[in-house]
Amino acid sequence: MFGYYLDLAVRSLRRSKVLTALMVLAVALGIGACMTTLTVLHVLSGDPLPGRSGSLYFPQLDPRDTVGYVPGIEPPEQLTWIDGMNLLRAKRATHQALMTGGMVPLQPAQTNLDPFHANGRYTTADFFPMFGVPFHYGSGWSSAEDDSKARVVVISTALNDKLFGGQNSVGKTLRLQEADFRVIGVLGDWRPDPHFYDLNMGAYADYEEVYLPLSTSRDLHMEHDGSVDCWGDGGGEQAKLEQSTCTWMQFWVQLDTPASVADYRSFLQHYAEDQHASGRFARPPTMRLRNVPQWLEYKQVVPSDTRLQAWLAMGFLLVCLINTVGLMLAKFMRRAGELGVRRALGASRRALFGQLLLESGVVGFVGGVLGLLLALLGLWLVRQQPSDYAKLAHMDSAMLLTTFAIAVLATMLAGLLPAWRACHIAPALQLKA
């Protein structure tokens, strides 16, 4: 029966080519716009570290003075050096890493390359095991290097390709800020999106090219970039950031079990209370402990433009579908005579209904294929944009299937009303004409 109905549907669609083309086009345009924006949204709201992000937590404390305090105010989104160091040394979690970022002047040994700024991450030893960073060559550093302010550096694959032609560069020398560093590791393919551990540098911006010990970066007065929030007599002066009342550090901990999360929470609360009692924290003690998904949600990391565009595209799809309902209605009603004959010959309403729905399904399928092509074109257009996230806009298999499912389902939904109307016509009235 399905084959026969399919044949009927194709015949009927062929008969009124203009109307069919209009319907397919409307569905395709709606689906194309909708899937382009939904794919961008899907890519941007992805999990940066699947399997790990649930057990990575970002502790927040509120060390600010009482200026501007209102009860329930959220603590700052970074830590001061003092709190970061205290939490790091407490070692209450499986892994913990303190970090910040900056642009590092890099003087290449090759004479054909001008000095350039490398995107740098200054962090502590646990960064690599905690985030599960893959290594192509070598490895990260240990806490011994952190303590000794060692001049060691881990570089990205891209930088390794650029400077060392992709060779194993472990043991080679890299000149950063007029100082010699020993390369101890080359990263494998690693790019969690969004850049969850420090959103100040752009949530979907380019990744770091050099990773070096935090202690070394401070020792060499390397430039700090990113957000610095100060209060009281704190100033953002680079060389004095350790002492100043400013938040500028990111601190992440790995907590594997609910019990360890609860322990850490109470540890953090006690820490805040102690600091308040000693007079360092002027505000009532408060803390937050969010994991990666909660942190991304709190920071509203998906650009609101993208969400607006998705809403707009949904509205557009709705307009297209209402349009399809109208055209389908016109098409089915025009065939009232033919349907009357089939009813008179004994076809049940249910059979006619099924046949008409299948016909709209065919429109949906063809519209879906065309819509998919339009969505691919749309994503290509998005990738031509200069924004940070543009190059991430690719369709995956899940979105591909969703596209078809939405196209066929939406069109069949749009076909419901016309089909129902068409199979409720009185056969006798149609036969008389």
Partner: protein, 404 residues
């Protein structure tokens, strides 16, 4: 035109009529909001900025040794000044629209707090000429103020003078002369005396500082120091690119280890607003396609019911209705449907705007967007119905005599 028969006939075709109304309503709602957003994007990208945008080029310098920065900057600036065609050079911490912002809160009353992020511009001697600031009241900094300008321990300007934007002067001292007034840092209550007012210069990162901080900019004098990591070169617009190129060569020789990143100010501005411009283009594309789809839908449905009513039209023609009567009949019918759709659409558009205002950074839509949206959909409906209506009017009276 008698509309009662039209209403009676529409009652018979309730579903197609309802579909047209719905489609117009939705299109109207989406159109109004999309056009409003396009306008907002474009207003943002065309924001006025009282500096010599076309004449400025910037070289960002990285990797200078902090201890010797003062000497290097003095030497570099001297070299840049000798590039032919250069009108003025200076060093600055950040530029309007540079995303590298140095923000602080300021208040005219030391008892108060400030919730506004004001952009702080630190300029070296000659910075006012290099930027092309337009002085409205008072004076620029003198040589002594430039030489003494430094930082306090809390990284505020240690000079005692400040130049403010006109918008800030009006906000802080409405109806008074801003010259000689005291301005305070809201964090540690350091005080400065206002010595000049300039035409409004944009903020360093207006998207971050928000609408209130868009035109809140302050200028402080600073002697050469490591914080001034951008060199400003001002020249005639036609010389700009050549000047930048020669300046890069000169600096490359002086600072072989430094990282130098050149850019013209116009490129910097274009980069900052690239996202908004793309958003505007995309919205415009969606609007055009949506209007086309709506028009085609109206054509399709109207042709369908013209086809259904061929014999009716034939009878009307046979009993005396003229070509224009039939044409007007369908046009009026479409006008009634459009009116219903537009009425519904305007309400919907308003509701969507309120929803967006609550959930996104969207402001209230002025009423004329609704009016313009309504008029354009009326026009679209009339345009779309023209072809089916002409076909209907062309039905010959003889159809009435045939069966069918």
């Amino acid at each position: 035109m008698e509309i009662r028969p039209i209403l009676a006939s529409l009652r018979k075709h309730r579903i197609p009529a309802l579909l047209i109304v719905l489609e117009i309503a939705l299109a109207c709602a989406v159109l109004c909001n999309a056009v409003f957003m396009i306008a907002q994007c474009l207003i943002g990208t065309h924001a006025a900025n009282a500096i010599d945008e076309a004449g400025i080029a910037i070289i960002h310098v990285g990797g200078l040794d902090d201890q010797h920065a003062a000497d290097s900057i003095a030497r570099d600036l001297a070299a840049l000044r000798s590039v032919p065609g250069v009108q003025a050079v200076a060093a600055i911490n950040a530029l309007p629209l540079s995303t590298d912002a140095m923000l602080n809160g300021f208040t005219p009353n030391p008892e108060q707090d400030s919730q506004i992020n004001s952009s702080q511009y630190f300029i070296s001697r000659g910075g006012e000429q290099a930027l092309g600031l337009q002085l409205l009241q008072g004076r620029f900094f003198n040589a002594e103020e430039y030489a003494q300008g430094g930082f306090t321990t809390s990284h505020q300007s240690s000079s005692h003078v400040v130049i403010v934007n006109q918008a800030d002067a009006q906000r802080w001292w409405p109806g008074q002369s801003p010259l000689g007034q005291q301005l305070y840092s809201s964090s540690d209550k350091t005080a400065w005396t206002v010595i000049g007012v300039v035409a409004d210069v944009l903020a360093q990162d207006p998207e971050f500082s928000g609408p209130a901080g868009r035109y809140s900019s302050l200028f402080f004098p600073l002697h050469a120091s490591a914080d001034l990591n951008r060199y400003l070169l001002r020249s005639a617009p036609q010389d700009r690119d050549r000047v930048l190129q020669q300046a890069m060569q000169a600096l490359g020789k002086l600072e072989p280890g430094a990282v130098l990143e050149p850019k013209t100010y116009l490129d910097m501005r274009a980069d900052y607003f690239a996202g908004s411009r793309n958003m505007a283009w995309m919205l415009a594309m969606v609007c055009v396609v949506m209007l086309a789809v709506t028009a085609l839908g109206i054509v399709g449905l109207t042709s369908f019911w013209v086809g259904q009513r061929r014999s009716q039209i034939g009878i009307r023609r046979a009993v005396g209705a003229t070509y224009t009567h039939i044409l007007h009949y369908f046009q009026t019918e479409n006008f009634l449907l459009s009116t219903a759709g537009v009425a519904l659409g305007v309400v919907l558009a308003f509701a969507i705007n309120i929803y967006l205002m609550e959930n996104y950074e969207v402001s209230r839509m002025p009423w004329y967007y609704l009016g313009a949206g309504a008029v354009s959909l009326w026009a679209l409906g009339q345009l779309a119905v023209l072809w089916p209506a002409l076909r209907a009017a062309a039905v010959p009276p003889v159809v009435a005599t045939r069966a069918g």
